[in-house]
Amino acid sequence: MSWGSLDEFLAMGGYATYVWGSYIVSAVVLAMEVVLLKRRHRTLRAGAGRSSQQTDNLA
């Protein structure tokens, strides 16, 4: 292991901005995709069976 302490780990040898900037954005983007996918499916399931004919007439 390359780290003596938590501070050393977080400092990433002086590259903290670049390393954590990559990891945090990747984690947030992927988590956001999952949240949006779950929400989309939940909404569709809630609407399933509810007079879908009506939405067709409106379109």
């Binding site: 390359s2 002086g14 590259y15 990559s22 954005v25 499916h41 509810r50 879908s52 004919q53």
Partner: protein
Amino acid sequence: MALNWFKYSSPQTFYPLAGRLIPVFAVLAAVLGAVGLYIGFFVAPTDFQQGEAYRIIFIHVPAAWMSMFIYLVMAAWAALGLILNTRLSSMMATALAPTGAVMTFLALWTGSLWGKPMWGTWWAWDARMTSELILLFLYIGFMALQASIDDPRRADKAGAILALVGAVNVPIIYFSVKWWNTLHQGASISVGRSPSMASTMLLGMLVMALAYWMYSIAATLMRVRSIILERERNAQWVRDLAGAPA
């Protein structure tokens, strides 16, 4: 063969199957991701040239690989939908595009953050980066084109043509570091040559690539389920889902 593959080409039978598969791939993604990050941060040594900045590799290369691989899979499903006229194939292509775009964006983002400390620039118009940016535009173009056409079957066909034409870009991205003089380094691993990195670094990268792969499958299956519900909303079986547990 008793197994009938065409049975699963019907959206109605694939919908519950996908629902059962999602947790499997989600768990695989989480476990592989945890193991990969552990190897990446606590087992893999500091790079003698790049210091700790190289640790971006554990998410940069997997995202870049998936961005290209997803495009090829998307084009293959689109082609299958175009040739066989199977609805589910086209839905798979549509479902893959946003995740492919996400992977492309992440490859560009992490690459930019890696390029700044190593090359002194966030961006360069060299072959590797430019062709990867074109890949992002292809994904966005595919989604925009499909969204602009009201009739789903026509949207499928138009999207398939775009996906197939755009597929030539993938080998250009992959071989760009060989064909042109680029700022980007050569392939980290390639067939017939031993990898140019420490074995624990390579292991971390491969485990993370598998995690990204499993994630992409889970996300695509989640999206294809929504697409099935949208397109089949007037089918009796979708109406019968009302009240049933999701």
